[in-house]
Symmetry: C2
Subunit: 424 residues, 2 copies
């Protein structure tokens, strides 16, 4: 029999120490969001291939693991040579497409607005590389059916507080929520003289500001054929207003480009969310924040910490996407938490795997122990467990030292050995 | 764009009330087993198709959702017409094959014996019917590397106590752990005069005892061509020992058919596990318990409750299976919890969905509320959340009554409305 010991390429076996850390973070996420009224939901791992290929998934649509049709429908597709038609389902590559389908299917059974929390695996046929896997966990929170900025406020505050909780006890500095609005980005482009059709391209360059600075962005825009005057006017808006809050930054953008309510709303979000956030979290207006996804329509946000050049959460408002799926327009705003990134950071900081609760006892039992002795020792184990101790009863192995070592590695703190009583 | 709102056939969207119940049961399962030293692990949803088709999965191997190869390897398989070779992976249909692979891959990093807890989805292309789905959750606990009956004792006690915890507050009666041993079943067959080759067949009939009684079993065995004398001798063993404990039941089985240590071990398991179990759980010797799976080699167990004609957990010792995968012989014993069955029973008993924590407040906010008012109300929400209350801030909808109704259905107990202050 051919048997392969390793997991499927690009996927992981989770060891106990991995699972302890992941489960702890899962439960912090669930607890935090539930206090804000977010409700957990779940969708199947598989979705109809038509839904996954609906052009909402961007490049991820090239990375779908497709599930083969079965029985007669497979046979006839193969006989016809209809090779594009041999898969009917695919594994989901994100939680957004499933959420759109879920809401279209279940909205009448849900409160409105609906505050959803999803935690689940997604699959992408990506090239495996350090820290990137073909199966990984996503964690999305979304508010559906709320056109007001209460959605943004709750999302930002809940997520910031959740991260504070997770990183408590670790030396994390510079936890910052960056907030911007697509409509402000658009207004500045138009005001500087770019055309409506240039906006997407200009933003691709601005998005690189963190890496290449204003000079780099300027060179790239000019290399792309935009006029110097226009480019300098554009970048000048950012330079002149360095460090300004949203109200001040937008002050000089005429109403014809930007409805004054937009800057008030961004300001509102920052002030209200800040009132809910503990500890050293900065919630700041960041006019250079772009975020790649084309489907955002308003507010966008991203969370960073010092020392890591990737964001640990990001999101925004996407008022048109759910409607494309369901046919009914539904305002929507959400955050996607970089769960695997958070795990990577925590593992970095911990330096070693997460151990079991230190209030733990391993009892090693000799093979000749009598029934009477066993009954007594298990009754005692029962009492200790009821008092909150983790107790595990193991047979004594020949190589007891190796056995101890492994148990210590998992975190067992106390040991007991039970040998046969002479008088049994 | 073609968009399908319903989930893939035979799979479920989980509503918030479903998830609350499932999450509660998950956390009880995790807490219970962790006190006994079981460690959670996880394997990918996909396994190599070779491993899934290794004949260890029985009929489930006919129900595999296969994952299509990708890129060039798909193209060349299709061009060659090698239609059996167009899938390289499949979705797991149980947690046992993945556990065997996991242990073969990771044993050197794990304590020995290793006490594993797995909770995860499995997929089977079954015919969807009431209470049976194509994606469902399995929960398996296994002790690998323990040839002693400490494994059985811990498994039985931990599982019984976990079920007591889950059913606490519900009127569940007759919670019973049935214990038997394949070696005892075999010995009685041989003693009655059946041949070694008849055993599997005879047990198929005995397995129906619960449904068709001794008379039914007798008729079936005779219809299958077995002699009356042999059949009556066989069934006589069970009738004459009705209600006997294992020691008494096995007393008259000669040593040539059954090593005396087997009955002592079963007795040991029942006495020791009983010493650890609270409340009204019976742990009993049940000589007619068979369990279908061919891979069991010793003790077998099954848990039932009154009023349901299916078992809610079952398992046993399967000392040869892991070795078939890994090449190294590894004693193993496990329990599979019928998670979806437990959920079905709980939903039956609850009569309605599980609501959110009753300490919950929904604040409905009018759209014209000022930033100043929002900052104040969110600061108050923060304090209430820190005190343990679930607080959700929603925009006030035009149809506020419908909004209230849905929130009440989810379990919101308190409501507050915030209107603009006159003097803002």
């Amino acid at each position: 029999m051919k048997f392969i010991k390793t997991p499927v390429k690009g996927m992981c076996d989770m060891l106990p120490s991995d699972m302890r850390l992941r489960e702890k973070v899962f439960s912090m996420i669930k607890d935090s969001y539930s206090k804000y009224g977010f409700m957990q939901i779940e969708t199947p791992a598989m979705e109809h291939i038509e839904n996954l290929s609906s052009k909402q998934g961007g490049d991820n649509e090239k990375l779908i693991f497709k599930v083969l049709k079965r029985g007669q429908s497979l046979t006839s597709a193969l006989e016809k040579g209809a090779y594009d038609d041999i898969a009917d389902n695919g594994l989901r590559y994100d939680l957004t497409v499933p959420l759109a389908r879920y809401y279209a299917n279940n909205a009448d059974k849900l409160p409105s607005p609906f505050k959803a929390l999803q935690i689940g695996s997604v699959w992408r046929e990506d090239n495996p590389q350090k820290g990137r896997f073909r199966q990984f966990t996503q964690c999305d929170i979304d508010v559906l059916g709320d056109e007001s900025n209460l959605a943004e406020i709750e999302l930002v505050a809940a997520t910031a507080n959740m991260l504070i909780k997770i990183f408590k006890g670790f030396e994390v500095s510079g936890l910052t929520v960056h907030i911007n609005d697509r409509r402000i980005l658009r207004a500045i482009c138009l005001m500087a003289g770019f055309g409506e059709d240039d906006i997407a391209n200009v933003l691709v360059s601005l998005d690189k500001f963190d890496k290449i600075g204003f000079d780099g962005v300027r060179s790239e825009l000019i290399a792309n054929g935009y006029g110097e005057e226009c480019v300098d006017k554009y970048l000048g808006v950012f330079k002149n207003a360095d460090g300004a809050d949203c109200m001040a930054f937008c002050e000089n953008i005429p109403e014809e480009y930007l409805n004054g309510k937009v800057r008030e709303s961004v300001n509102d979000i920052i002030l209200s969310a800040s009132a809910m956030v503990d500890g050293n979290v900065n919630i700041v207006f960041d006019p250079t924040l772009v975020r790649g996804m084309g489907y955002y329509t308003g507010t966008i946000f991203e969370i960073s910490i010092d020392g890591y050049n990737f964001s640990i959460a990001g999101g925004g408002r996407y008022d048109e996407m759910i409607g494309k799926f369901s046919g009914n327009s539904v305002p929507a705003c959400g955050f996607s938490i970089g769960f695997e990134r958070i795990i990577t950071i925590l593992k970095d900081m911990m330096g070693e795997g997460m151990k079991i609760d230190s209030n733990s006892l391993a009892i090693l039992v000799h093979k000749n122990v009598s029934t009477k002795q066993k009954v007594a020792l298990f009754a005692r184990a029962k009492t200790l467990r009821e008092e909150g101790k983790t107790v595990s009863v193991f047979p004594m192995k020949k190589n007891m030292n190796a056995q101890f070592k492994k148990l210590e590695e998992e975190g067992y703190a106390e040991f007991e050995k039970v040998y046969p009583e002479e008088n049994n």
